[in-house]
């Protein structure tokens, strides 16, 4: 019998610690599949950030450097400059990338570093217990916005994929989700495109992945999955915002 579906080799055969219904595991798998398809596992250096994604090295069978909170794009810059033949990606949450690490992501993108950034946006600080993030939707209640995010006081959620697409150094920027089979298939396609940019040495590529966080949203997995489509996709539209080489 022909085997048509298998675990990616870039992923270890280990259960993840992610909460039930969280999309991190799915994004891990999509990233690993892209790694397999381009055959880059052996020369990949991942940069782990702070938060739920820090345990990257427990799941991906690749070499990994751990970065301080928000600094993954700077660490990746150092790795890639010193080892230009390696495939370098960061995997960062919204608190990491859109708050404490805003300077690092904007400037690595603006320099056009030949790296790929996977940005998992679940509109909250997951590991620290569901506080307000820069991507928290207006009106969304979190443990530090108990009355709901107030745009007048807290600002409005930042759309990173669109913001980065403005920069000359960015070659590719897209936003994806995995809340439906159709979106998942498209997410896989866009992640592969983002990877292809680096494989072909064409510059900085960025993938914003909308994710659920059932635990901190206080929802069951199905309701949380639904929220990604109903609430998040409304403010954070899926799509490709830049594709310079039209890969």
């Amino acid at each position: 019998m022909q085997q048509v579906f298998r675990k990616p080799v870039s992923l270890k055969d280990i259960q993840t610690h992610f909460c039930p219904g969280c999309h991190h595991g799915t994004f891990h798998r999509l990233v690993a599949e892209a790694m397999d398809e381009f055959g880059v596992q052996g020369r990949t250096i991942g940069v782990a950030s702070v938060g739920c994604s820090v345990f990257l090295y427990g799941y991906f069978d690749i070499d990994v450097v751990e970065a301080p909170h928000g600094r993954a794009p700077a660490v990746a810059t150092g790795v890639k400059r010193a080892r230009p033949d390696s495939f370098v990606f960061t995997y960062q949450g919204d608190g990491d990338l859109a708050a404490i690490g805003t300077a690092e992501i904007i400037h690595a993108a603006n320099r056009g570093e030949d790296i790929t950034v996977v940005f998992v946006n679940n509109t909250t600080y997951g590991m620290t217990g569901g506080q307000m993030a820069p991507t928290t939707l207006v009106g969304q209640k979190t443990s530090t916005s108990p009355y709901g995010r107030n745009a007048g006081k807290d600002g409005s959620p930042i759309r990173m994929a669109e913001l980065l697409a403005q920069l000359e150094g960015v070659a590719f920027s897209a936003r994806v989700a995995v809340n439906t089979p159709r979106n998942l298939m498209d997410a896989k396609k866009q992640i592969k495109k983002a990877f292809r940019y680096q494989v072909e040495g064409k510059g900085f590529s960025f993938i914003e992945a909308l994710s659920s966080c059932p635990t901190n949203w206080g929802m069951d997995p199905l309701a949380a999955n639904e929220r990604v489509g109903t609430e998040m996709c409304g403010y954070f539209p899926l799509g490709v915002f830049k594709n310079t080489a039209a890969i």
Binding site: I45, T77, G78, V79
Partner: protein
């Protein structure tokens, strides 16, 4: 390379880094050390290396972290307020056992302070600086020749012990020009970098990290780091002693303060006072043994610093019982650099 050169301390330091094999430099401009990034931006591209002017000191220390994790020799430099920003990354590097050279051409503070020579970052340099309870190797040059020599040594010690190393100078040693003799890197056997990330195709998975969550894991990791600090104390303490053999009073000073102190010591000798100088070259590890040995006989130490008293605490902890330790310092700022005559007055006061 036996030709004598006449250069600024900052330039000699940059030259030594390149001679030591540093090909990656990440930094952000700040007075009085901007000659270093300027030199590196000119020279590294010609050598196939990389110069990145980072968006901040925070980014530059993390670029150093990334380059170092791949096994490359890399450096960053800054001055006091910038070094404060780098402390986060330095702590992570210390935790992940990453080598790397950090230069602090110390200026006056606290806060924005001023651009004058200062030694007020001593505590920050030798007592950890960042969070978590660690040490880095700290070398204190007092001449342009030492800016060259100690920078080269910093790369080797850092690689050997897998501890970040800081070259701790100030505006005086950074900005002054004097002659020095450059030389190739002295041969030193270094352990292979078996921990670097280089892609799975070369073998087992490698992870550079400072997060340890298992029962007892982090404590064991800390004990390992602290054992290495102990080894450093034993094997790598360096100092210069000058006329201490018959001294009745020994002046303790480091860096540019030690140069001024040396003039004062010579002036005191001309007046018939038996005075010597003990100059720590490594601030961490602090040369405790040198102070113990000297104060076994000489019971008076005058500690001189360009601050309100920081190294004096380590001096007090290192001297033998019954030694009197006096302090004279000038918190930094324009017009605050003590003169040799001023220090001679202090020597005479305590002699």
């Amino acid at each position: 390379m036996t030709k004598r050169l006449f250069m600024k301390g900052n330039e000699a330091l940059a030259m030594a880094a390149i001679e030591a094999g540093c090909r990656y430099y990440f930094g952000y401009p700040i007075t009085p050390q901007s000659d270093i990034p300027e030199y590196m931006s000119r020279e590294l591209p010609r050598l196939g290396g990389e110069f990145v002017q980072a968006e901040s000191e925070v980014a530059s220390i993390n670029m150093l972290l990334g380059a170092s994790a791949t096994g490359a020799r890399a450096m960053t430099s800054s001055s006091s307020p910038g070094i404060s920003l780098k402390q986060e990354g330095i702590s992570y590097m210390a935790g992940a056992e990453l080598p790397g050279v950090i230069v602090n051409i110390c200026r006056s503070g606290p806060g924005l302070g001023g651009i004058d020579a200062s030694q007020a970052d001593y505590f920050q340099a030798v007592k950890g600086g960042g969070h978590g309870g660690y040490h880095i190797i700290v070398l204190a040059p007092s001449s342009v020749q030492e800016m060259y020599d100690l920078t080269m040594l910093a790369f080797d010690l850092s690689d050997q012990y897998r501890i970040p190393a800081m070259v701790f100078g100030d505006s005086v040693v950074g900005q002054m020009k004097e002659s020095f003799v450059p030389h190739p890197r002295p041969a030193r056997e270094l352990p292979p970098k078996e921990w670097v990330v280089r892609g799975r195709q070369h073998g087992e998975q490698r992870v550079v990290k400072s997060l340890y969550l298992g029962d007892g894991e982090l404590e064991a990791h800390n004990w390992k780091l602290h054992a290495r600090y102990g080894e450093l104390k034993e094997k790598e303490s360096r100092w210069e002693s000058f006329l201490v053999e018959d001294a009745e009073l020994v002046v303790a000073a480091f860096g540019s303060a030690a140069r001024i102190a040396k003039s004062a010591v010579m002036a005191a000798r001309e007046r018939g006072l038996r005075v010597g100088l003990l100059r720590p070259i490594t601030l961490f590890p602090f040369p405790e043994q040198a102070f113990r040995a000297v104060t076994a006989r000489c019971k008076k130490v005058l500690d001189v610093e360009l601050n309100a008293g920081q190294m004096v605490e380590d001096v007090r902890l290192s001297v033998t019982c019954g030694t009197e330790v006096f302090f004279y310092g000038r918190p930094p700022g324009a017009g605050s650099l003590p003169t040799p005559e001023e220090l001679l007055g202090q020597i005479e006061k305590y002699y």
